[in-house]
Amino acid sequence: MYGLGIAKGMIVTFKHLFRKPFTVQYPEEVVPRGSRFRGYEFTWYEDRCTGCASCAKYCPLGTINIVTHPEGDPKQGMDYAIDIFDIDTGRCMFCGLCVEACPYEAIQAGGPLDDATYDFESLYRDKHKLTEMAQEHLHGHDFTYPNGKQAPQPDEKPLHIGLPVERDRTR
Amino acid sequence: MTTQLDVEKLSKQIQQQFPDAVQDAQGDYILLKSDYLADVARYCHDTPALALHFLSSVTGVDYIDYFELVYHLVSFEHNHSIVLKTRAYGREDPHVPSLTGIWQGATLQEREVYDLMGIRFTGHPYLKRIFLWDTFQGHPHRKDFTGA
């Protein structure tokens, strides 16, 4: 009879009236992100980076700009000092290829959602800004990298071969 | 599993119908002379043993010396497929016959190839740019395209 199908549908919607809403209210309640979440907060750890520029080569958009020069005593193992390491997050599409490319897991994805800014300028992150963000992350997460590994304490030696690089954290 | 038609056998079959239509037959494709393309396509479509009623895709490839047109044909009845190829020479006005009369599915795809590769399909009912605007100069998928 005409109307039975409509009545069936009406019952379905009526049942939903008494269900708990599926949506959550964002600022009060944040859905937990997965551990592999590729978010805005690209963290780059200078203490792990050797300056090989694999990430820059892998980036499909060329958002990573890296300039190095050889440095250090050849007897203790040659190293590259990183002069420039910039990520233009404004152009980044968060494909995660750079994360996969890095042999030392120096660049890692992850982070919160609330990283919106008002201008493109602040999305261009240079070495200092990235180090700042990385330190902020490490201090907030008990010196653990986003991938779950333990980071060196501030007084410890960096992980990569060679001498510790002189860091300019004051900017 | 879709089987590849035996290229050797099919090319002989085509040779019988249309002498010197087949230029080359190797791998999984048959390279045809562009003059015979429409006839051979019609033959592939109408022969009950082939029954290639489905034109999967039309592709243009720019090899600088020539343009290659690739037609993927599939038969749903016999579940076999064949790749037909043909070449269009010249950079100024390369052209091949249109297959829209045989497969309606070729209309939009040929328009796309015309738009992006600049290959003219003679006999196409509505050959017009499809993605780019009508006043656009050049054909961006050509290898020598340097920007508008």
Binding site: T13, R36, R38, A109 | H53, S57, V70, Q104, F131, H141
Partner: protein, 376 residues
């Protein structure tokens, strides 16, 4: 105005109105434009106009390495990125002769089938929305899609642009928490599909709006290169998962839903049934999945030998194919995408002419196209 014809029969002659439906219109599913001529409410002429979202993906692919092209395929049909990834990596593997390990193939199948459910959720939801149902079924379907996206986020870290598959496998193994979440979802999903059916399948208004509307005959569908649910709604049991099995689809037991008449209602039902079949495939894949490596040992920059390869998958919208030509460099010489949404639009004009304005949006909705894929 009533005027008398030569043979003295009265005809009602009205002035025709030309309306541009799109590029900004609630029912064009993106930036698509139809230049439509109406006689009253009846469509007498229609010309689809493309290109508002043309980004030249195929040209961009020629300047990127084989791995980097994966990120471009995410943006083709952005509601079914996993299927696009799959089609591309299959083509690249065929070109380079790389065999992915078994576990990777199962993971890919699970992802592709989950993606099909999500894509059909969106397709059906917006189709019902075009019918005027004020987003209620759409919201329900969004809810399930969100759950699938949560699963994808677990495995690859992104919700829309996954870039999960790699040439020779996938970028990461399934995390520990994935399988329990998947089991929970797969057990819930049939109940949700029952809900959609109760809400929509027998709804008289929906039936009266879709049944016998815009019939696409099987011959016409094949001749016009229509693929996917649209083709199967016309009664052609052509599904690449069965007729040309890729990956491990030949190990699963599932049906291909086929329509009887090829009208809009059949296209709706075929998608609804396909969601059930996808749930079934995922269930079997979960039971069969072996342990082992998730990625073949392939170099980071592959140099495939000179040649060409065409690989196709049954994407939610139809047959998605990648035709790659290699010149033994790190980037493809030519990357052609056979986009199902685009080619399905061949029959748009023929299907819509003669129907009313209200049918126009419904028929167009039943195509379930995606502008990212149409314009590429």
């Amino acid at each position: 105005m009533v005027k008398t014809n030569g043979d003295a029969k009265l005809t009602l002659k009205t002035e025709e109105v030309m309306v541009n439906i799109g590029p900004q219109h609630p029912s064009t599913h993106g930036v698509f434009r139809m230049r439509v001529t109406f006689d009253g409410e009846v469509v007498t002429e229609l010309e689809p106009i493309f290109g508002y979202l043309h980004r030249g993906s195929e040209k961009l692919a020629e300047e990127r390495t084989y791995t980097q092209v994966i990120t471009l395929t995410d943006r083709l049909d952005y509601l079914a990125s996993m299927s696009n990834n799959l089609a591309y990596v299959l083509a690249a593997e065929k070109l380079a002769g790389i065999q992915p390990p078994e576990r990777a193939m199962y993971i890919r199948v699970i992802m592709a089938e989950l993606m099909r459910i999500a894509s059909h959720c969106m397709g059906l939801g917006f189709f019902i929305n075009d019918l005027g149902a004020l987003a209620t079924p759409l919201m329900y379907m969004f809810r399930e899609r969100e759950k699938i996206l949560d699963l994808f986020e677990l495995v690859c870290g992104a919700r829309i642009t996954f870039s999960y598959m790699r040439i020779g496998g996938v970028s990461g193994d399934l995390p520990e928490e994935f399988m329990p979440a998947l089991v929970k979802f797969i057990n819930e999903m049939p109940g949700y599909i029952d809900e959609y059916e109760a809400l929509l399948r027998e709804n008289e208004i929906l039936i009266s709006r879709t049944k016998d509307i815009a019939i696409l005959t099987a011959e016409k569908a094949i001749n016009a290169s229509v693929t996917g649910p649209m083709l199967r709604a016309s009664g052609v049991p052509w599904d690449l998962r069965k007729s040309d099995p890729y990956e491990v689809y030949d190990r699963f037991d599932f049906d291909i839903p086929v329509g009887s008449t090829g009208d809009t209602y059949d296209r709706f039902l075929v998608r609804l049934e396909e969601m059930r079949e996808s749930v079934l495939i995922v269930k079997q894949a979960m039971e069969q999945i072996p342990s082992g490596p998730f990625r073949a040992l392939a170099p980071a920059l592959i140099h495939p030998p000179v040649g060409e390869a065409y690989a196709h998958v049954e994407a939610p919208k139809g047959e998605l194919g990648f035709y790659l030509v290699s010149d033994n460099s790190i980037a493809p010489y030519r990357c052609k995408i056979r986009a199902p949404s685009f080619i399905n639009l061949t029959v748009l004009r023929d299907l819509i002419i003669g129907w009313k304005l209200a049918d126009l949006v419904v028929i167009f909705g039943s195509f379930d196209i995606n502008m990212g894929e149409v314009d590429r």
